[in-house]
Point group: C2
């Protein structure tokens, strides 16, 4: 354990950033870099099995900031709905077992051949109503993640923080919060007021950072970049989030073919440097400079 470098005490590694690593390897890289939290994707958990994953996390000394991800709630057919509910119940149980306080939900896009966004959004609200009692029972907060509008049809019919907060409104903040991810929300002209609203409503469940690279990658899912490589104003977004009082871990979650191909320890070192330079100052946490 090296201890966290100056300005990185709130930095967490999301395992999507080190996609080539097993859970065990990712935990080791994070611990060796002095991090205290990791965000886990379910693929890495499921490939070793939940029980082994819980043991690995415990042995690592790291805390789990979020489990990524549940969701895909837009099916209109009974089988699809049943499948979505079963999968999300499982994800909630996994989050509870791993000690992850938050399960991130990517709500899903349009069913094949369907173009009715309003109806799909309505089904997301229905499935959320089904899942909140399960999450409550397990002490896991569901975090609705608005995705960039370029994914509206294939990944998330939820595109803005305002929409996510409207969807969360019927529930207690401890039951349903929102995920603020710089890549997905930086463009939103209503960002200042909607982040402030999320703060007032105590719904900022997690803050994830990565850059928006240009040109958009040929596989549009992989346009996420290391902070500083793209067009996101991290100081501006981070100040908004800090002003809400959010004091939890800040995950770096990057889907990017070049970053996946690079040595993980080097990626994590770069992540720490860029975080300290671009994100940490705007978090304005006096304690964050202490290793």
């Amino acid at each position: 354990m090296a201890g966290s470098p100056a300005g990185t005490s709130r930095l967490a590694l999301n395992t999507a950033t080190t996609k080539a690593l097993t859970l065990e390897q990712a935990l080791r890289v994070a611990a060796d870099a002095g991090l205290t939290h990791v965000g886990l994707w379910r693929d890495r958990v499921e490939e070793v099995g939940l029980e082994a994953a819980v043991d690995l996390v415990r042995a690592s000394g790291l805390a789990v900031s979020t489990l990524c991800r549940g969701g895909f709630l837009t099916a209109a057919d009974p089988d699809g709905i049943a499948h979505a509910l079963a999968d999300n119940r499982k994800a909630i149980e996994q989050a509870a077992a791993l000690g992850a306080p938050v399960l991130v939900l990517v709500v899903g896009g349009l069913p094949p051949g369907d173009t009715d966004l309003a109806a799909a959004r309505g089904r997301v609200a229905d499935r959320l109503a089904d899942l909140v009692p399960v999450a409550r029972e397990h002490g896991v907060q569901l975090a609705l993640e608005p995705l960039h509008p370029m994914y509206v049809a294939d990944r998330a019919v939820l595109s803005t923080l305002g929409q996510a907060l409207d969807l969360a409104a019927p529930y207690a903040p401890s039951e349903v919060g929102v995920c603020v991810d710089t890549f997905h929300v930086f463009w939103d002209p209503q960002l200042p007021e909607q982040v402030a609203r999320a703060g007032r409503e105590q719904r900022v469940a997690t803050y994830q950072v990565c850059d928006f690279n240009l040109p958009i990658a040929a596989d549009a899912l992989l346009s996420r970049g290391m902070m500083g490589d793209g067009v996101v104003d991290f100081a501006a977004v981070t100040r908004l989030v800090a002003a809400t009082g959010y004091a939890g871990p800040v995950e770096v979650e990057i889907f990017n073919a070049e970053i996946w191909a690079a040595p993980a320890a080097q990626v994590v070192a770069t992540m720490q440097e860029r975080f300290a330079e671009l994100v940490a100052p705007a978090l304005e946490q006096p304690g964050s400079a202490a290793a």
Copy 2:
């Protein structure tokens, strides 16, 4: 002149859809298909010169629905600002000469190396204030076009209809309106209220239709598709626009490498079929079925 097929009386060809054609060829294809309006891109006008373009349009018997495009107003340096103003003054003069009632504005993205969206949006407002008197003098309405948020950094810091209407608010509707383009706005959860607001404020200057294709094209600019090939709900968006009372031409503007490579007459025929099937019924114009 074939006369317009049933259900296509309000259909207009935007020359971006037939990018391989000269102005003269595009006008001929449109007239041969029985269309009454064309939307012109400035590249096709400038390659023959304004005077010749005016003559060609007059000879074609077609009316010009819009000139595309002015804008790119986000420069922060004096030279960039001067260049933008000169170019937009020229565009306004071209629109007036061509009899185009509307000049579409794509406002521009972030200057290189800059990430400050709020400041860039402020400069767009400043340049609009500079240009409105010129447009007024020439009797040309400026149409602010919100672009899909995936283009926020490189083409338009204006991403939503709500933002466009806020920016237009200081001016008379005859001076500044908005362009509603299905590709750019279909995802917006606030679309129903913002289109209705555009109607109340009498600012719908033009309605453009094309589909949003998935997967997003490797060159993200070229993901526009023929109606019916993607995920846009044309009935839903078109009903909103029709409810505003907008009664003008509906342009089809498609940037798509396959469509550009196909024979133009075939593209226009497909465009007419798809328009009649997917768009025209929702326009609910009883007269639109008459040739």
